[in-house]
């Protein structure tokens, strides 16, 4: 298989005209983040598809829950408490995106009665917006205006010309891209790449010897973070690498919303809800920005909908039915 000639933008977005240097810059960003080959156990590897030629044998999509497992598990006996924690900033009600650490963040909007009217999810990386900013600030401002508010002005988005990830319109007053400190594409790439080499072991209960032996299967993997995404990526990449296979992320590299399941959601009259999901950025299978909002003509709002008989009061109730994905491919060197 031929080398990849250019890393594409997430979901092949075309926020700037073809020919813009932005696209080459984006390629370079990904290319520089990935080593040509990160050797793993049993001579498997994680590779950069623009540097290393591999014959693809199969694909494997990694999928995980958008709602933060790190918040859910301490509240395993009180789900409501988890929903509250994932949304309510201490002392405020603007959304606790600081704990939404599964590479998916959401923002809740409510009406005067406190009912939810819209929930917006994003998996867009801050690096993409920084890269866009570096080439065309005007376009960034225009996108912010269309996604968040016509009131956005350029000065809101930077300090001394440096784009601010936690600007007003991506924190207190809106959501455009991920802002939680480790929700970055760089971190995701590092997680995937670093998963190639994974030592063992926890099931024997005795201190592991040195040097560390290789995990023979997932029951021998070392403890990892209590999120959904970290073990999902670590275990799957490590397992493919030790086959041994050459593994990388599938083009276009990105973090995507894979699915959303509104089975058993009902309108106030008890009938099934309509399709109130709207893909704002990306495309089916590669969704970057997703909105859940009831059309005004319906005569009710999101907060009137029931999920399995329970009224939607928190964005987390929706987030636990949203899944995030990153595509993987595996193969062998020619």
């Amino acid at each position: 298989m031929a080398l990849l000639t250019r890393f594409d933008t997430p979901a092949s977005l075309r926020d700037l005209p073809a020919g813009s240097p932005f696209y080459d810059n984006w390629h370079d960003f990904i290319d520089l983040e990935l080593a040509p080959s990160t050797p793993g156990t049993n001579f498997g590897e994680f590779y950069d598809a623009s540097d290393t030629d591999v014959n693809t044998l199969g694909t494997h999509s990694l999928v995980w829950m958008a709602f933060p497992r790190r918040v859910l598990m301490p509240h395993r006996d009180d789900r409501l408490a988890a929903f509250v924690e994932a949304e309510r900033t201490p002392g405020g009600d603007i959304g606790n995106r600081n704990v939404q650490d599964e590479y998916c963040e959401w923002r809740v909007e409510r009406n005067a009665a406190g009912k939810i009217t819209r929930v917006t999810f994003t998996t867009e990386s801050p690096e993409y917006w920084e890269a866009l900013w570096a080439v065309d600030r005007t376009r960034v401002v225009a996108l912010y205006r269309s996604l968040v508010s016509p009131a956005v002005v350029e000065a809101d988005l930077h300090i001394g010309g440096v784009y601010q990830r936690r600007n007003r319109w991506n924190e207190a007053d809106g959501i455009v891209h991920l802002m939680q400190s480790i929700n970055t594409l760089r971190a995701a790439l590092g997680l995937a790449e670093g998963s190639a080499m994974t030592p063992t072991t926890q099931i024997t209960g005795v201190p592991p010897p040195s040097p560390l032996p290789t995990a023979a299967d997932n029951y021998e993997m070392p403890a990892v973070a209590n999120t959904s995404v970290d073990p999902r990526v670590k275990y799957d990449v490590a397992a493919l690498v030790r086959k041994p296979l050459s593994v990388t992320l599938r083009e276009p590299i990105g973090l995507y919303i894979a699915g959303y399941d509104d089975t058993g959601w009902t309108k106030p009259d008890g009938s099934p809800v309509g399709n109130y999901w709207k893909i704002i950025r990306g495309r089916p299978g590669q969704i970057l920005r997703l909105e859940y909002r009831v059309p005004p003509a319906a005569g009710f709002v999101v907060g009137d909908i029931r999920i399995g008989g329970r009224r939607i009061e928190w964005g987390g109730q929706i987030a636990e039915h949203v899944t995030v994905t990153a595509g993987g491919i595996a193969g062998v060197r020619p």
Binding site: R6, H27, R76, Q202, N218, D230, E251, G308, T323
Partner: protein
Amino acid sequence: MEAKKKTRSKKQSNQAALTPLQHLEPLELAIQPQAAAAQLNRVVDTLGKFLPKLPQGILIPALSGDPGAEIPGAEPEPVYALKARADIQGNTIPGFNKDHQHFLFFRIQNVKRAKAWLRWIAPLISSMDDVLTWVRAFRALRLRLGTEPPMCATWVNIAFSYRAIARLVGKADALLFGDESFRQGLAERSTYLGDPTRPSNRGHRSRWVVGGPKNEADILVIVAADDPEDLVTVKDSIKERAIRSGLRLLFEQRGNTLPGDLHGHEHFGFKDGVSQPGVRGKVSAAPGDFITPRYIAHSDGRARIFAKPGQLLLWPGQFLLGEPRQDPEHPYLSAPPASNFPSWAALGSYLVCRRLRQDVPAFWKFAIAAGSSLGMTAEEFASRLVGRWPSGAPIMRTPGADNNALAGDPWANNHFIFNDDTRASILRPIGGYAGDAFPQASQDMLGSICPHFAHIRKTNPRDSATDLGKPDDSMLRMILRRGIPFGPPVVGVKRPSPRLLKQERGLMFISYGSTIEDQFEFLTRRWSNSPIQPDFGGHDPVIGQRDQRGDRTRFIDFPTPAGPRRIHIKNEWVIPTGGGYFFSPPIRAIRDVLGS
């Protein structure tokens, strides 16, 4: 790590971008009922010829203290002394496992009289101690005789809906049950479980024989017996006394294991219940006196997490309220018990009952048509849907053909993982057992042997990471299954008559757990009903339900050498027809709290 190139190269073309392997064109199935009838007859006749018996001469040791089963330095497991054993209902742990069972669904009409009936039935309720003592005696006798001993027992268990508990002890106490799904009940959660949303659909909750919005049961009594006559005597006695006490019998259902070589199989013809978690805990403080026998040698590190090959050990709080639970981040350490229940409910368990009708002809007609289109026999194709061959032998260990000897070997028939090659277990000595000599399973991370949609892979991903992360999390989702078939079998019947084919049959699905939402509902909605969780590949084609605004079409991406082939499933063969969410209380609470 190789040195990274740092030169920024300008690359203009995207033409050679990596292309993911493409799906083949969807497979269009044409199922002609008439044309398929002959094939169906052949298939159902062929099924039912199994000899998955224990290999000759092997004597499963009687359960008793076995000092060699203790792992030095392991976290101590709770001891269930007589008082606790007499309190825990026996169908939860260790399980009735009887060939004949009867299910009685009652509605309380008069609380005072219902309480009197509860005080009457309380001494009849079979405890963990009753069942375990019997099982131990049975096994000891089998060890002595070298054959199945002629022992019979009849057992009774009872469970209550949230509504019943609220009526019997007051709403304030009932509200202390933290499981919101239990408080809501199965009918309210039905469409969330993917059940039909259209009232015209035969599986819609409004059409259920019990457990629908207008016929929810308050009390479920389960009677189980070795002898069918004993069963009838005891259930008639309970029923008669209940009706005299003002309880209204909403529905009753007889269940029987299938006859002959189909014993232990469900109506589609597949061996059921092969994989069950093992419950940690001890019967006494004596060394090695475990509830679940331990067969793996200490020299094999997996002895810490498996009781026998493939049988994961779970802390009892996963099934009994108030007991130590699984640590969400670790495969063998415990976590503190739950506390979101009234104090009198400790040692009780949530019970999920689903009466699932099985349309056997529909299932096999689909398998015949799809298998034929893919160049496979119906049995081969259907076994891929299940993940096991009809005998119970796992596809992972015998991909090419069924293997009755493997199916009958309890130390081999559940020993496999998905993501890596399975390594042989090192077993402690088992008299007469030469060891697991069957070929071990090869890794199947991409689901080409046991597809990601296969029922056993959907509901038990084993070593695989999932949408909730590591396999340790999957251990939190496991349930104790205690189901039994109902209705006359059709598999194994030569040229079944139209009348027989039309008769109702299915599974009385019964499960126990310490949470309904995070165990039964999680497995059902999040994994079986989802085409992308825990992995992409399609819906669970056996029990999965889907209702997207009335559209009930499911699909599977069937692996072929040329790539996955999408097959849409328009027919349904598992139809919900009743059930309920219940709580199976500790026995003393039946008399002292609910009946007081």
